[in-house]
């Protein structure tokens, strides 16, 4: 097969990681919210807010690190609204999630229009940290071991969350908050606190994913640039059945679909890009058809907790 040349594979894998990291962070974030019983439809908005603030701060300070922190903060602003409205006040999670996404789309597009529509500033590419030795491996070295530090951090988060879920009281409390909040309450744990904390942390993770898109992926902020990737994160979380490692697997798979466009162009295959750009969404539908039924969601997902209510 002449298609699978070294250039093609490298382009595919490099692209899969670049496109997969935002999906991974979105999926990990959604998984956290869902574990705690909050169906977080607002992550698309959190991601966009993270992308905007990440870009803004990275551009103003000329520091990718501060940009990432700004992205975390940007995601958390939207998440705080979600926690207030859905956890504290018990409003409908789906309606609020959609509202927050639409609100964030509008607000970031407006801010972008006011600030950058004349100049379209671009960020310089962030520093790459090559791991000595490993980065010399052909194909894999370039894709995995010669990346921005944020990539290593995101991959490490998979292990961190797997540990937290399995080995801490916090992991137990999260699962109880999603499965039977009344049991958690009667054990003397504040359900509101657990759920609000999970939603805020989700905002941070997803916001970081958005900032990654703007700072590492594109080097620029464009309105609506997340283009439904937050929603793919929701699908990833649903299919991962509470296991962070499966979020990683799904993120790389969908990331590969997203990067296939570039890779096929590198390989000189002549397929209309519109067809290739449909791939990730077709893949989502395919995966859902085959695996969607096995999704195992917490039983109190989407339901506000009110003490004493039956």
């Amino acid at each position: 097969m002449s298609l699978f040349t070294e250039a093609f594979m490298t382009a595919l894998l490099v692209g899969a990681i670049a496109a997969g990291i935002p999906l991974l962070l979105a999926g990990l974030g959604e998984q956290l919210s869902e574990k705690a019983g909050v169906l977080n439809i607002g992550i698309e908005g959190m991601m966009l807010s993270g992308a905007y603030f990440g870009f803004l701060i990275a551009w103003k300070t000329d520091s990718a690190l501060l940009g990432f922190l700004g992205g975390i903060g940007g995601g958390m602003i939207v998440a705080a609204l979600m926690a207030l409205l859905c956890v504290r006040l018990g409003l409908n999670q789906i309606v609020i999630g959609i509202a927050l996404t639409l609100g964030a789309e509008g607000a970031t597009a407006l801010l972008h229009h006011v600030q950058f529509s004349q100049s379209y500033p671009r960020l310089s590419a962030p520093m790459v940290f090559s791991i000595p030795g490993l980065s010399q491996i052909p194909v894999l070295g370039t894709a995995f071991f010669s990346r921005e530090p944020i990539v290593y951090l995101s991959l490490a988060l998979v292990g961190v969350f797997a540990y937290l879920y399995r080995r801490t009281y916090w992991g137990i409390a999260l699962q109880a908050a999603g499965d039977k909040p009344a049991a958690l309450d009667s054990a003397g744990v504040n359900v509101m606190l657990i759920r609000s904390g999970a939603v805020l942390l989700t905002g941070g993770l997803v916001g970081l994913g958005g900032a990654f898109m703007a700072i590492v992926g594109a080097g620029i902020f464009v309105p609506f640039m997340t283009s439904g990737q937050g929603f793919i994160g929701i699908v990833l979380a649903m299919l991962a059945r509470g296991q962070p490692i499966w979020v990683l697997g799904g993120a790389i798979l969908f990331g590969a679909c997203l990067s296939l466009t570039t890779a096929l162009q590198v390989a000189g295959v002549d397929i209309p890009t519109d067809v290739i750009q449909m791939l990730p969404f077709a893949a989502v539908m395919l995966v859902l058809v085959f695996l969607g039924r096995k999704a195992n969601l917490p039983s109190a997902l989407g339901a506000a907790y009110v003490r004493g209510a039956r």
Partner: protein
């Protein structure tokens, strides 16, 4: 007997909109005793439990713990003063192991020492003579095993006052018996246990002291020495008297009317039920045989939750029949839909007036035709005939004295009594042949109780066959020609409504009579 109660309720009152759930209830709970709380649904048992476990706060009155006044602010606070509650519906997280259910509430960043906690759990379980599998995932265990684990967990958290809320309601008889023995062992170790149940035989078998609630009030109590000296049968009779008997303040008794004459000119059998079986996970119904003649009222007595609802719904067509026959005017109807049964003259007045009886947001006029939507003459080729619908509504509002601002008022805005009148109007007009009433006066005030009972009587007088399910024995004795007693999904006996009926029904309900 220990001198000081662990927990005392002193004049505790709890109000909800439109209802007084607990009305100046005073009860003392002593260590070393199984204290049984008895009462029908709605008697206020669950509210009492919510207040003791910190889910709700009393509006009036005080809760004393070890002699000192305490306000129990939250479930956590209840635990810290030694009150552990095992709710009717399991409070274990199904997807976690038993150990992790015990672990709920540890410091968040710490790594729980699961083997050590499992060992402690097994040890606690052994000390009260039960066996648990700490590493088992909760959802893989039977309800009985889950309940034992909940009791073990409560003890591990230092509970010395254990509330078992309708603990046997979901258990198999064998598991229920195990739980009874476990309660005895717990109190022998000095704990106080509150056991809430519907079942009189369990109360007598496992209780040291019994308090009876009725309509939010404590209507009586049986002390330990009384319980011992009276013997099971006399105790049961006393409880039945307290729960169902006359008492001026608690029982709304409608104006006395003459008892229906026995075997007055009753017609032929209209509704006949043969060897009926109905599936249900909690209370399967089996072997029901009943024959109701035209003009006859047959009452079905029994403590709530003994299959009455299942039987009523199966007759109405809302629940599939597993086996057996239902004849209406000699024709089998058990495979017919709700609509077809209604067309043949079978009517069902549900006790779930807001849930399945009416659509709260629809106007009174449409609710009056809820089971005929789309039928002529009110709908023609799929289009409403507003004039006819309104005329029908106006007629029924007058005829059944439904107090509503207008026929366009949403039904959900009416009072309970008027919603019941609306249901009666809907079910009793037209060509009804047999009418089934489920708890027809449940939750109504005196006047509406009297009105409902009058309608039931009228239905029978006009030659319909009437079946009345009720937990109010007085009501059945006032209305019925014959009374059947239901227990655990079976009809355990049918008596003619004569002078000795009350006594015999009481015996059958409590399982004393053979």
């Amino acid at each position: 007997m220990p001198s000081q109660p662990i927990v005392s309720l002193k004049g505790v009152t709890k109000r909800f909109p439109g209802i007084v759930a607990n009305d100046t209830v005073s009860i003392d709970f002593f260590p070393g005793e199984v204290h049984v709380l008895l009462g029908e649904n709605g008697a206020g048992k669950s509210t009492l439990v919510s207040m003791l476990s910190g889910l709700q706060q009393p509006d009036d009155g005080e809760i004393h713990i070890d002699g000192a006044r305490k306000a129990i602010q939250s479930p956590h606070h209840a635990l810290s003063v030694g009150i552990g509650t095992v709710f009717q519906h399991s409070m274990l997280v199904p997807s976690l192991t038993l150990v992790d259910n015990v672990n709920l509430g540890g410091r968040w960043w710490q790594n729980p020492d699961r083997p050590a906690i499992a060992a402690r759990m097994s040890e606690t379980a052994r000390s009260i003579g039960v066996d648990v599998t700490p590493m088992a995932v909760t959802s893989s265990l039977s309800l009985g095993e889950q309940q034992q684990a909940e009791i073990v967990r409560a003890l591990m958290r230092g509970s010395r006052f254990l509330i078992l809320d309708e603990a046997t309601a979901m258990l198999t008889p064998k598991d229920a018996e195990k739980l009874g023995l476990l309660m005895r062992r717990l109190v022998s170790q000095g704990l106080a246990v509150i056991f809430i149940t519907h079942k009189l035989n369990e109360a007598v078998a496992y209780g040291d002291r019994i308090s009876v609630l009725r309509l939010g009030k404590k209507v009586g109590a049986i002390a330990p020495d009384q319980l011992k000296s009276l013997g099971p049968e006399r105790v049961t009779q006393e409880i039945v008297r307290l729960m169902f008997g006359h008492s001026e303040d608690a029982a709304p008794s409608a104006p006395a009317e003459a008892m229906p004459q026995q075997n007055a000119d009753l017609g032929g059998a209209v509704l006949e039920i043969l060897a009926l079986e109905v599936d249900d996970s909690a209370v399967p119904v089996s072997g029901v045989e009943l024959k109701i003649r035209a003009g006859e009222i047959v009452g079905v007595a029994g403590i709530d939750g003994n299959g009455q609802k299942q039987l009523a719904e199966a007759l109405a067509g809302q629940r599939p029949v597993r086996n057996g026959r239902i004849y209406l005017d000699g024709l089998p109807i058990e495979d017919m839909s709700v609509g077809d049964r209604r067309k043949r003259g079978l009517r069902y007045v549900t006790d779930d007036r807001l849930g399945e009886g009416t659509v709260g947001a629809f106007p009174v006029s449409i609710n009056l035709l809820l089971k005929q939507i789309g039928d002529a003459p009110f709908w023609r080729s799929g289009l409403e005939s507003p004039a006819l619908i309104a005329a029908n509504a106006r007629r029924q509002v007058v005829e059944f004295d439904i107090r509503t601002p207008s026929i366009e008022t949403p039904a959900g805005k009416l009072s309970g009594g008027n919603i019941q009148k609306l249901l009666l109007a809907r079910e009793l007009t037209g060509s009804a042949r047999a009418v089934i009433f489920a708890k027809p006066t449940y939750g109504l005030d005196l006047q509406n109780i009297a009105a409902s009972r009058r309608r039931i009587r009228e239905a029978a007088d006009s030659g319909k066959a009437v079946l009345v399910f009720s937990t109010e024995l007085d009501e059945l004795i006032e209305l019925s020609n014959r009374i059947a007693v239901m227990s655990q999904g079976r009809i355990v006996g049918i008596v003619d409504n004569d002078q000795s009926a009350r006594q015999r029904i009481g015996e059958m309900m409590s399982g004393v009579a053979k």
